[in-house]
Amino acid sequence: MNTPLFEALLRLGDDRLVLGHRTSEWCGHAPILEEDIALANIALDHIGQANLLLGYAGTVEGAGRDQDALAYFRDAVEYRNALLCELPKGDFGVTIVRHFLHGVFSVLQWEALSQSTDPTIAGIAAKALKESKYHVRHCGEWVIRLGDGTDESHARAQAAVDQLWPYTGELFMQPADEASLVSAGVSADVSALEGAWRAQVSDVLRRATLTAPEGVWMQRGGREGRHTEHLGHMLAEMQIVARSHPGAQW
């Protein structure tokens, strides 16, 4: 098995699976009908991307695990998503700000990976890039509307930025075991994306009259399987049906 490639695919897939599941928690609860449908669609795109990435991870591993086995039968310590993705969905402001912060990262990451020398990764990335672009557009518009909106929406959007910012640094910490994949052009160095991410994010925050905190300690651990307590609770809900009835078909 190509272990670094398997791990790299888990990082890509788990980010989308966990964020997709968190977003799906809004289904039936969003503030307006259009937003309920939008968040359900965004969740679906993320889970679809995870489906492709984890499916490929299973093939690379060669141990007979498919995407469902990887999604439903791994424990929190085996998940490789960034901590940002697993935090509770919070209020609508937290959900939107998180999708915006992660979405801009995703667009840059897919853009780089669409040039991957691995044709499967390049194909998935080119497809996901189109989807992430309209997610970012949707959430970016909301960030401005909330930040530059009423006193209440501004306060909540600013609180969301303050809460989430310490979790953004992990996105750009390049895992050491990916060095050979990066030099072979299979993977993309995430640390090289930070400058472009900051420029895009600052531009929207400025238009939204929001400010990013400075000099905060950046949390990390998700990429190594050290998660917040929130992931275990989320997985318990996400995995219970598959684990209670293993192999069930309908």
Binding site: I42, D45, A128
Partner: protein
């Protein structure tokens, strides 16, 4: 002996479950097909959206349609590259979409900006009264591939295929 042309002709009768006016060939989901010397048929499909829940049904419908018409063995393969685009939907199929009440997609416009707020939309024509005085309500409609629009002329809501 089945020919590649025959396979395509048969697949023209397999409709998208969510947009039943379009065949899987017109939609651009079917990318290619080969017939082996022993008659085994292989069809390459590409998903529209990563999370499109109709893809599984589409793959099963393709395999079933070909088996019913006598193909001995059918394999449906998924390819991701090049990524699906609405530019593949031919003119005749666009007319069918409009007649069905769904505004067809415009040409895909290259978009370099990441956060193109106040995005300029190409005029979308109301499939009912044909007015172009229309406005986007939400980019997320009843399926991944459609957005919700409203006609300012006849005041009817309608769905439009997103250009992607």
């Amino acid at each position: 002996m089945v020919t590649r042309e025959q396979v395509f002709a048969w697949l023209e009768e397999v409709k998208d479950p969510e947009v039943p006016v379009l065949s899987v060939v017109e939609l651009g989901v079917v990318r290619d097909a080969q017939v082996a010397p022993d008659g085994a048929v292989t069809v390459q499909v590409t998903p529209t959206y990563s999370g499109c829940p109709a893809m599984r049904v589409i793959e099963e419908s393709i395999a079933e349609a070909l088996r019913l018409r006598g193909a001995p063995r059918v394999t449906v393969q998924t390819v991701y590259s090049p990524a699906w685009t609405t530019d593949w939907i031919p003119e005749a199929a666009r007319a069918k979409l409009e007649a069905y009440g769904i505004a067809p997609p415009g040409a895909v416009v290259a978009d370099d900006s990441l956060v193109p707020l106040r995005r300029a939309h190409a005029a979308v024509r109301c499939p009912w009264c044909k007015s172009t005085r229309t406005s986007l309500q939400t980019e997320f409609g009843s399926t991944s591939c459609k957005a919700l629009w409203r006609c300012e002329e006849c005041r009817q809501p309608f769905e439009a295929f997103k250009a992607i």
